[in-house]
């Protein structure tokens, strides 16, 4: 990281800062927009090496993001070619939902969970309204900005839907978030696939660990059926006609309500509706947003009050704070926050106890945070980790299985550079 020339300019306008992460098709680094003083994330896509010219994924992302302007969708600020590379400029996001879920020092109250899932669904509803399927919904594609706003990112797999005859590949989504119809190889699917994935994220917020962790496509279906019971033809009439349909041994539904004991009745009702087997009967995103869960108490937490991983202090070679005028809308962090680079992530130990059941005093606890405790036991409160000088966390295991499968992993996963 020290090698990065901190005053290097990209195409006259952006001052390059440290590298934030590296994906299969380019590097993401932080930069300062000298026109606005805004902190941005720039995704550099190598074009020269690609035999087919500009990457289709990148073009798709640019095209769709230009249409999708919404508070809950990442903003593409600029795109430009420079020295044979394509640069996409995004608003800078501090962290992502995966980091929040994995960080067991963060307590998520029912109202916090409601807020996160509401923002997720709002972003998704906007996509669907514009006839766009996201197709890669997972916690680490849900980025969280300096003001706590959650935004959908990574539209490299997204597609326009609407014409009924269009056939799509079913090889989308990270496996754990794949809807059953995709696992049965359907080529004609709709917004329901995003709803299923959103349901998985909802469950993950409640459980604080991925809900259905299949090790293969077959196993994924097994896990789904073990949780909800093998679907009967009356539940899902079209199932037997799906291309890769195979009969599964009957499994009765598990005691789901018990597993989600921490969820309110409304939350559990919405979750079950989002996890409906038949995509035609599955609740739509818009209907989900109108569910009484979102209007009943406790109301969703204000985004800027949501618990987030404590960001680490920025390293010395950065002068980001010099460029911090007062303009710059939603994206600009307040000076105090702007000096922080990346949130710490706590490595996820497979069987982390589900001890963070929340109660109504969460607010008080959060205030008392930072007072103590050893790092090894999960503390039911939000602690500023930077004071412990914590090591860069391990990559969560979530993607490793899907990486080869999806052949790529889009960046912005804010990996901590060594």
């Amino acid at each position: 990281m020290g090698e990065v020339d901190s005053s290097k300019k990209v195409a006259d306008r952006y001052l390059k800062r440290e590298v934030l992460g590296e994906g299969t098709y380019g590097v993401v680094y932080k930069a300062i927009d000298t026109h606005t003083g805004q902190t941005v994330a720039i995704k550099k896509i190598r074009v020269g090496k690609q035999k087919e010219g500009v990457n289709v994924t990148a073009l798709r992302e640019i095209k769709l993001l230009k249409e999708l302007k919404d508070p809950n969708i990442i903003e593409l600020i600029d795109a430009f070619p420079h020295k044979g590379n394509l640069h996409l400029v995004f608003e800078f996001m501090e962290t992502d939902l995966e980091a929040v879920i994995r960080n067991h020092n963060i307590v998520l109250s029912p109202a916090d969970i409601k807020s996160y899932i509401q923002m997720t669904l709002k972003g998704l509803a906007f996509c669907h309204k514009k006839w766009v399927l996201h197709r890669d919904m997972k916690p680490n594609n849900l980025l969280i900005g300096p003001n706590g706003q959650l935004k959908l990112a990574d539209f490299g797999l997204a597609r326009v839907f609407g014409s009924p005859d269009r056939r799509f590949t079913h090889q989308v989504f990270a496996r754990w978030y794949r809807a059953p119809e995709l696992l049965f190889g359907t080529k004609q699917y709709g917004p329901g696939v995003d709803v299923w994935a959103a349901a998985c994220i909802f469950a993950e917020l409640l459980l604080r660990q991925p809900f259905l962790q299949g090790t293969s496509d077959i196993d994924q279906l097994g896990k789904i059926f073990a949780a909800f019971g093998t679907p009967t033809p009356s539940q899902w009439p079209d199932m037997v006609y799906l291309p890769d349909y195979v009969e599964y041994q009957y499994a009765p539904p598990s005691a789901l309500r018990k597993r989600f004991a921490m969820a309110s009745d409304d939350a559990f009702d919405l979750l079950s509706k989002m996890f409906t087997y038949d995509p035609k009967a599955r609740i739509s995103v818009q209907q989900a947003l109108e569910h009484r869960y979102f209007t009943s108490a406790p109301l969703p937490t204000d985004p800027d009050k949501l618990p987030r991983p404590a960001p680490k202090k920025e390293s010395s070679n950065s002068k980001a704070s010099d460029f911090n005028p007062n303009e710059g809308p939603t994206v600009l962090s307040p000076p105090r926050k702007s000096r922080r680079v990346m949130p710490e992530r706590v490595s996820f130990e497979g069987n982390a106890p589900q001890s963070d059941k929340v109660d109504d005093h969460v607010g008080d606890i959060r205030q008392a945070a930072g007072e103590s405790t050893s790092r090894n036991e999960p503390v039911p409160m939000s602690v500023d980790f930077s004071i412990f000088g914590a090591k860069p966390p391990n990559r969560p295991t979530i993607n490793s299985a899907d990486r080869t499968h999806l052949k790529r992993k889009l960046e912005l996963d804010f990996q901590q550079p060594e």
């Binding site: 289709v56 640019i62 230009k66 600020i77």
Partner: protein
């Protein structure tokens, strides 16, 4: 990045970049129809769907609204627009396919002339094949690089604005709003559709939103076919079209129609023996 997608007629006719290089309006429209038919031809050879071809044409229009023909050879630009549109519309064609379709004649000609120059005996099969293989490789690589360079320039010029709105959806909406009689609808659809196809090759789609082109085409088609349109502006309102702007579009269309008289429209119109009907404002 947020450059406007639409231009005024004045911008296009008087101040276009090509005009600054001394290319007249007439010459530019000629070049425009040349690249359009090139895109159509290549697109069909690549078996690209109609929407992809239309997208490529639109991208090319956008490019030449901001760049001069004098400095950018339309053949290369149009070819790279095909590649780009195929990616954007999720109907990808490989770069090699595009290159071999676009440049097959040129590469063949180059080989023939090079063979003469290097005194290759065309009857010595082995010598000839070895030579051809080598040359084809080099030529193709050259062309690929050319197209990729053009792709980047196109992207930069159009400010990465790849979202292309086409008038077909609006056309269907307008037709649905107007008629319920199947017989009339069929005829009206065909004439309006071929008109829309014609406008795609003109600068009209750089000046007005697709709905104006669609509704305008329906109105013109209805006049040609003597189909009665609803009175008043209420139906226009429902389609989200401002009457004054639409009048502008229709006037433009009719002026073009009198001059150009596109083959499709004429064949249609004459088929139904209504050629004698004056196309002036009715």
């Amino acid at each position: 990045m947020s450059r406007s997608r639409y231009f005024t007629r004045r911008e296009l006719e008087r101040n276009s970049p090509s005009r600054r290089d001394g290319i007249t309006v007439g010459k530019e429209s000629k070049l425009r129809s040349q690249y359009c038919s090139h895109i159509q031809q290549i697109g069909q050879k690549l078996r690209l769907p109609h929407l992809t071809i239309a997208t490529a044409i639109m991208l090319c229009h956008r490019f030449y609204a901001r760049q001069s023909h004098a400095k950018n050879c339309w053949h290369t630009v149009a070819s790279s627009c095909i590649l780009l549109a195929s990616k954007v519309q999720d109907t990808p064609r490989s770069l090699s396919d595009v290159v071999s379709v676009v440049y097959c004649r040129e590469i063949q000609d180059r080989i023939t002339s090079l063979m003469m120059k290097h005194k290759i005996n065309p009857h010595d099969v082995r010598e000839r094949d070895e030579f051809c293989e080598k040359i084809v490789k080099i030529l193709r690589r050259e062309k690929k690089e050319l197209i990729l360079a053009a792709e980047m320039i196109v992207l930069k010029t159009i400010g990465f604005d790849l979202d292309v709105e086409l008038p077909y959806k609006a056309l269907v909406a307008a037709l649905k709003r107007l008629t319920t009689d199947d017989k009339i609808t069929g005829l009206l659809t065909e004439v309006a559709w071929s008109l829309v196809e014609e406008w795609l090759k003109t600068s009209l789609c750089l000046q007005y939103k697709p709905k104006y082109i669609a509704v305008g085409s329906v109105v013109v088609a209805a006049r040609v076919l003597n189909v009665k349109l609803p009175a008043g502006d209420k139906w226009l309102e429902e389609l989200g079209v401002l009457p004054e702007r639409l009048d502008e579009v229709i006037r433009w269309m009719q002026s073009k129609l009198c001059k150009v008289k596109t083959r499709e429209v004429i064949s249609f119109v004459s088929f139904y023996e209504i050629t004698t009907r004056p196309l002036e404002k009715g």
